[in-house]
Amino acid sequence: MTVAEEITVRVNGVERSLRCEPQVTLAEALRGPLELTGTKIACNRGACSACTVWLDGEPVCACMLLLVDVGNRSVTTIEGLADGNGLQPIQRAFIDHDAIQCGFCTPGLVMSCAALLNVTAHPTADQVRGAIAGHFCRCGTYPHVIEAALAAAEGTPA
């Protein structure tokens, strides 16, 4: 058995400390002891991007990163995106364009689209496709996700 150690991570702006074994991934820690189950695990090997969170604002697969390797980088999850100020424009656009079916892959898609819009205020459809190319959505929401991302950008001042 491996030995649990005390780890502190900054998640959604809050320092969180937990004891966990070194093989625990960020995705497992978020969903387990940190009780942030909005981040989903679907393939657990970086193939589907359902577990996408931000590390210092960059989208990453949380299932491919050990918690001990997060270090002092700040983690943002789907729960931290709206930041208490109501929905972000991309979340509103996902609702209006029905970029949702079963909703299991939705948090990851929202995080990737939001990250794209942070760096590219007015992306092309191809840029949106590129930003979500690592995501699998078996319900097939891609057309509406692309529409939603473009619409959310429309609402952003140029």
């Binding site: 074994e21 969903r31 009780e35 942030l36 189950t37 909005g38 981040t39 989903k40 695990i41 679907a42 393939c43 657990n44 090997r45 193939a47 589907c48 359902a50 999850t77 789907i78 729960e79 995106l81 709206a82 929905l87 979340q91 996902f94 609702i95 209006d96 029905d98 949702i100 079916q101 079963c102 909703g103 299991f104 892959c105 939705t106 948090p107 929202v110 949106v128 496709r129 590129g130 979500i132 190319a133 690592g134 995501h135 699998f136 959505c137 078996r138 319900c139 097939g140 929401t141 891609y142 057309p143 509406h144 996700v145 692309i146």
Partner: protein, 783 residues
């Protein structure tokens, strides 16, 4: 409808709105609501209402089964067979039981029980362990010692058909334990080949061929497709002395409850099945399954809740799949395009299961007096198939619709004109007309006519799907004294948006906004709803929801009438108010004020699905029926094929679909796009690969099992007919499966139009395209 019911006559809108709606009389039970007007006269139904659970889903708050966490919950893992066929000689789990943290062990493959002592596919469950955390459970699996006696195996469809092939089953008893769902009657078999169940045969196909001026035939092969639900199969079982509660990622809460009650000898009222958000099923989450039973046994043994979630490899090996098929079609026709003979022979494999046929599409889509089909199931040592989005007809359409196109070419008919002559459906005729206009069918050129290396093409294909109805489906609608309204049913929302649609139905009836309806579903403590498979949820659940809303509204009106001293027929509900239509007391009162006069805290009505007003085509078991009309769909595809790389790009799809009355165009568009994308993915990418030397799946993951993603997504235009038939309180039917069936053959026909070479095998990978073009040697098919 029973004979002793009191009936009344009403006039219903009937017809396809783009062609003109007329009226028809129907005799309906006296207490059914009045006919629902066409959508353009309604306030909420037929409007693009956003999902009621959308905020929860975009903020991460939606609670899926994998998110359920109960106090003292244990975590279970399953030990699975590492080889495709073996006798389990002995199992020793003592070391696992002794591992600290292990709380229960469930032996599934019992060497002493004849029905479970043989494993028939790699990935079959052997044993399960529940422990205080998943890591300990996983470690415990490694401590279970299993002694296997390896047996000869076969994983390839063609090899399994040989009389000399290793037998998957020795006898009937050996099979019984494995078969869980979608089981066909056991019939005499020859080796691994099970005798087909004949359906729909008519006339004399050989005689029909003698009348034919042209005969076309072809062999087609479709791959095994896996469901790839993003949420894995998951269950949390909580066995307590006063009853069993199960949280399950399921397409049928009430069905799982019935199975649990029966198998664990519990009364129905002591079993509760709950699903809040549900992360996709597509047919694979229709029943309890062995892992579910095991979780319940573990919970019973450990006296604690047990969580069991499959990982992605388990999903790929043992959560169901769309069976692979080999099909041979032969069609005879006269010079005028009329069909004289149609026959289809298929050998399909659902692994160790059954149900690998090619459906009823060849039997029922076109008019042909002489028809014969023989559909054989072939057992191989691979995980059992299950229903998957349009089972049967999806692989069946791939062969049929290409053969029909080939016939059109031989007769020098336009493919649409040929279909106009042989397809009796007025629905699909209108869909062909609309779709042809949208896609620009007149641009279609001769096969392979583009001069450059990248060749474009247009194709069309049609779908046929029965309109299924679950008659055992109920809803309750309640009005509280403070004006709160709620709808309750055990029906589950697996991503289709049925919760939203039910809110729309109740809101329409009560003159409210859908936001004002609290939708409480996915819990068998509420009136039992139907399953979410067979594209039947909307057809089954919206009529009783409307009837219940209607009835509770009448109850409110009656109390209001007494209170205000007017006739109970003097009211109407609209825009959040109730209008009193009485010369002396004409006034509007808010819904909330009206509810405040209730004599009790709440009133409610529970209603169940009535039979369709003109009756059903036939019953489908005790709880379901098939409606008179089919759900037609026609899809058009435009592709570009790079003849140097073999890469097919689908650039555009036009999907013209019918689901009776469309309840919510926004949700329908989503679902049709999803059906098209699953069909596109089937057409170009998806294939379970089995290694015939080891009997193992080569790509049990999501990176080597290829799926279409955002970059492969074409422009998808969805057109939905408004097709009123006057058959129920809502006249609504399903869309999930019809939207999936025609896509792959439409793409295949477009590929033919692009390159002038027909693709007989799915998926249409670059290697297969280049082989078809004669640029590389043909691959051996992958099994």
């Amino acid at each position: 409808m029973t004979d002793d019911e009191i009936l009344r006559t009403e006039r219903f809108p009937v017809g396809i709105s783009s062609m003109g709606v007329s009226e028809a009389e129907r005799r309906i039970p006296f207490d059914e609501p009045a006919p629902l007007a066409p959508n353009d006269e309604l306030q909420v139904i037929g409007k693009p209402v956003p999902r009621v659970d959308a905020v929860a889903k975009v903020t991460g708050a939606a609670r899926f089964t994998v998110d359920v966490k109960l106090p003292h919950m244990l975590h279970a893992r399953i030990l699975r067979a590492p080889m495709p066929h073996a006798r389990v000689r002995a199992i020793d789990a003592s070391a696992a039981i002794g591992l600290p943290g292990v709380r229960a062990v469930d032996i599934i493959a019992n060497p002493n029980a004849p029905s479970t002592a043989t494993i028939h596919y790699a990935g079959e469950p052997i044993a399960a362990v529940a422990a205080t955390d998943a890591g300990i459970a996983e470690a415990a699996l490694a401590l279970i010692r299993v002694e296997y006696e390896a047996l000869p195996f076969v994983v390839d469809l063609d090899e399994a058909r040989e009389t000399t092939a290793p037998r998957v089953y020795q006898d009937r008893e050996e099979r019984r334990a494995l078969l869980d769902e979608w089981v066909l009657p056991y019939l005499p078999r020859d080796g691994n080949v099970q005798q087909a169940v004949p359906t729909g045969n008519r006339g004399d196909v050989e005689g029909g061929l003698l009348q034919a001026d042209v005969i076309v035939s072809g062999d087609y092969r479709t791959s095994v497709q896996t469901h790839c639900c993003l949420e894995p199969h998951a269950i949390v079982a909580d066995w307590r002395s006063d009853g069993l509660t199960v949280y399950a990622s399921t397409q049928f809460t009430a069905g799982v409850r019935a199975t649990l009650a029966q198998e664990f000898a519990l009364p129905l009222n002591r079993v509760r099945v709950v699903v809040a958000a549900m992360g996709g099923g597509f047919g694979s989450k229709s029943s309890l399954r062995e892992f579910g039973r095991s979780a319940v046994r573990l919970s019973r043994q450990a006296h604690a809740p047990v969580r069991l979630v499959l990982d992605r490899k388990e999903e790929q090996l043992d959560s169901g799949n769309r069976p692979g098929t080999w099909q041979r079609l032969r069609i005879g026709a006269r010079r005028d395009g009329s069909l004289t003979s149609l026959s289809v022979t298929s050998y399909g494999t659902a692994g160790v299961g059954t149900g690998a046929g090619v459906g009823n599409i060849a039997q029922a889509l076109y008019t042909c007096p002489n028809f014969e089909s023989a559909q054989y199931d072939v057992f191989v040592n691979a995980g059992p198939g299950s229903a998957m989005r349009g089972p049967g007809n999806t692989p069946g359409a791939f062969g049929l619709e290409q053969t029909i196109d080939e016939l059109a070419e031989r007769l020098q008919f336009d493919p649409l004109k040929l279909r106009d002559g042989i397809d009796p459906s007025p629905v699909r005729r209108e869909e062909r007309r609309i779709g042809a206009e949208r896609i620009g069918w007149s641009r279609r050129h001769e096969p392979g006519a583009d001069p450059g290396p990248v060749k474009r093409g247009l194709g069309v294909a049609q779908s046929l799907w029965s309109a299924n109805v679950q008659t055992n489906a109920s809803c309750e609608v309640r009005i509280y004294r403070d004006g709160a309204v709620e709808l309750l049913s055990s029906v589950q929302d697996i991503g289709t948006g049925i919760g939203t649609i039910l809110a729309q139905v109740v809101a329409e009836e009560l003159g409210l906004h859908p936001d004002q309806i609290a939708v409480r579903i996915g819990d068998t403590d509420f009136p039992a709803g139907g399953p979410s498979y067979g594209s039947r949820t909307t057809a089954s659940t919206t009529p009783p929801a409307r009837t219940a809303a209607h009835r509770v509204r009448e109850m409110l009106f009656q109390q209001l009438a007494v209170h205000l001293g007017v006739s109970s027929s003097a009211f109407s509900a609209h825009d959040g108010v109730i209008s009193v239509h009485d010369d002396a007391k004409q006034r509007d009162i808010s819904f909330r004020e009206a509810a405040a006069i209730l004599r009790t805290d709440r009133i409610g009505a529970v209603c169940s699905r009535r039979d369709d007003y003109l009756g059903f085509r036939h019953a489908a078991g005790p709880d379901a029926a098939i409606a008179r009309q089919d759900l037609g769909g026609v899809q058009f595809a435009e592709v570009a094929v790079d003849t140097e790389t073999g890469i097919v790009r689908v650039e555009r799809v036009v999907a013209v679909q019918d689901c009776g009355r469309p309840m919510n165009p926004l949700l329908i568009e989503s679902q049709v796009q999803g059906g098209v994308l699953m069909g596109l993915s089937y057409a170009l990418f998806e294939e379970r690969l089995m290694d015939r030397h080891t009997g193992l799946m080569v790509n049990p993951n999501l990176e080597q099992y290829k799926l279409a993603g955002s970059r492969e997504t074409p422009a998808i235009e969805v057109v939905v007919l408004e097709n009123y038939q006057g058959q129920s309180a809502t006249d609504a039917y399903g869309i999930a499966e019809p939207s999936n069936i025609a896509t792959a053959p439409a793409i295949a026909n477009a590929v033919y139009n692009a390159i002038g070479v027909r693709m007989h095998e799915l998926p249409m990978t670059p290697a297969r395209i280049l082989a078809a073009l004669g640029k590389v040697p043909a691959l051996e098919h992958a099994g």
